[in-house]
């Protein structure tokens, strides 16, 4: 018989799903713009450009909300890697995903009210939310308002390094998203973690 604890407040779940939807729109439209082909339009170019702009601005606003809500609620602490065996905890968690999971062994560090994330989640989420997301949003805003970008860099259009950074970080977040969605299936049941992100209740 599994037990349940209420772990995720409404604001966090709402932010998570809106964030996910916006990032999904940005991945599809961004990919469509970058790999534009006349004979293979994933999303028509002009539409993709508009949607990407709108979703990008919305994501920037949502990120502002995320940072403020994290500070106010104290949730920011969840993302901070805790000392005292952090590396060891990461290695144990990695061994779980690479080996123990196939033998049906339990999660080594199941979520608790005090620590929602295991050490691997902490370090990866921290990098994604506090390192890569600001780069993605800043370079995206420079793309939106090219006057903010440098005019020239090494004799080339100043937008080039901005575009390269934006696309590279976009790729990193795309790869994270694939892994993140997949690891969502590693709960008690395949759907447990998805249900938790909807209801806020964690089964263990």
């Amino acid at each position: 018989m599994s037990e349940r604890i209420y772990m995720l407040p409404f604001w966090l779940r709402a932010w998570h799903w809106v964030n996910a939807a916006l990032i999904l729109v940005l991945i599809v439209t961004g990919g469509s713009l970058h790999f534009a082909q006349p004979d293979l339009p994933l999303v028509p170019f002009a539409l993709a450009a508009r949607l990407h702009d709108i979703a990008g601005v919305a994501l920037a606003a949502l990120y502002g909300f995320f940072v403020i809500a994290n500070i106010v609620s104290g949730n920011w602490w969840q993302y901070v890697p805790k000392p005292g065996g952090f590396i060891k905890r990461c290695l144990v968690q990695t061994r779980f995903y690479c080996w123990d999971i196939f033998w049906g062994r339990p999660h080594p560090y199941p979520p608790t009210l005090a620590a929602n994330f295991n050490s691997l989640q902490q370090i990866i989420y921290w990098f994604i939310m506090y390192f890569f997301m600001p780069i993605l949003l800043l370079t995206g805003l420079m793309f939106l308002v090219p006057e903010w970008a440098p005019q020239r860099v090494l004799g080339l259009d100043g937008l080039l390094p901005i575009a390269m950074a934006h696309t590279a970080v976009g790729l990193i977040i795309t790869l994270f998203m694939i892994g993140h969605i997949y690891l969502g299936t590693t709960g008690l049941k395949v759907t447990s973690l998805f249900r938790m992100m909807i209801t806020g209740w964690h089964e263990h």
Binding site: L33, H34, F35, A36, Q37, P38, P41, F45, A46, A49, R50, D53, Y97, I101, F102, W103, G104, P146, G155, L156, D157, L159, L160, I162, A163, M164, T167, A168, L171, T174, L175, I178, G179, Y182, T185
Partner: protein, 325 residues
């Protein structure tokens, strides 16, 4: 230069037409240069901003003169630099007072540019300008012969864009200038707002600073090596497929960057790297190495999680079997 001599010979012989197309080269013979300089100085003695401020003669019609000014420095940078004013304006053009109707009696461009004119005429006849303004619209309506320089001589795409778009904006951003043509139509046509009719185009102003209006407002040239068509088309026929330019095989290679395409190299893996000197064009200036890395990393990640998932399902099945047995 040879052509200019031919022009002079023909003019001296009294047959000022049917000239061969000029090569655009300025004269190099010092005596001829001095003769042209002196001749042009007579004209520029009045037809400049400086002369307007300090008229060299009394009783001049300054209001009319204000509409007939030439910037000598800009003229010296133009395609017609080194040519004598009288070549186009007639041998008696520097007689003062000017004869009646002198302004209207400019030699047709085709007299020198015969070959080009023949090709352009058919294109122009199909254009929206010819459709609405046949007879009122001339080469000079767009190309100011005292300023204009062909793209290949301007070189830098930003300069080409600035010059060529200025020709369009001259009328299409000025109610007054547009009305000089629009009022002649039945019914009279008011100038449409450029922002309104380009509402569909993302970052319209960014485009206007980076590419020419004619990139979209002319049909694709049937021959890639030929210059842009003079068949200017209105909004109904204009290119609205963004991917015509925003892709690896970008149309910019046969349009704005046509004269530079021989320099094209895929430097550091960037497609259309020649464009990067001016603009980063989404879809066109992609990096092949990065693209391959991106595609493979996504494919491998998807394959990785699918493999992991399949192994989980498989081992869960084995565990179930073991429990049963």
């Amino acid at each position: 230069m040879r052509h200019l001599v031919v022009v002079f010979l023909i003019l001296l012989l009294g047959t000022p037409s049917a000239l061969a197309q000029t090569a655009g080269a300025a004269p190099t013979d010092p005596a001829l240069i001095e003769k042209i300089r002196k001749s042009n100085a007579e004209c520029l003695g009045c037809h400049t901003e400086a002369a307007l401020k300090a008229p060299p003669r009394e009783g001049m019609d300054l209001l009319k003169l204000k509409t007939l000014l030439v910037d000598p420095a800009a003229f010296e940078r133009s395609n017609h630099a080194g040519m004598e004013c009288k070549t186009c304006h007639g041998q008696t053009a520097n007689e003062y007072p000017h004869r009646e109707g002198l302004t209207a009696q400019v030699s047709p461009c085709g007299e020198c540019h015969a070959q080009k004119s023949m090709r352009i005429e058919a294109q122009y006849d199909a254009s929206i300008h010819a459709k609405h303004l046949k007879g009122k619209f001339t080469c000079q309506s767009c190309h100011d012969p005292h300023l204009y320089k062909v793209a290949a001589k301007l070189g830098a795409p930003s300069e080409i864009v600035r010059q060529d778009n200025a020709m369009c904006f001259d009328c299409h951003e000025s109610d007054l200038k547009f009305a000089t043509f629009g009022d002649a139509l039945t019914p009279p046509k008011r100038r449409p707002d450029l922002d309104d009719i380009h509402e569909w185009l993302p970052n319209a102003k960014l485009h206007w600073g980076a590419v020419r209006c004619v990139e979209c407002h002319t049909p694709v040239s049937p021959t890639k090596t030929l210059a842009l068509s003079h068949e200017i088309v209105g909004k109904d026929k204009a290119e609205k497929n963004c991917v015509a330019c925003h892709t690896r095989d970008t149309a910019l290679k046969t349009r704005l960057y046509r004269h530079m395409v021989t320099e094209e190299r895929e430097k550091l893996g960037f497609a259309n790297s020649i464009i990067l000197g001016d603009s980063y064009v989404i879809g066109a200036t992609r990096n092949a190495y990065f693209d391959q890395f991106a595609v493979w990393s996504v494919l491998l990640t998807v394959a990785g999680v699918m493999g992991h998932g399949a192994l989980r399902v498989f081992t869960a099945g084995i565990r179930r079997l073991l429990r049963k047995s």
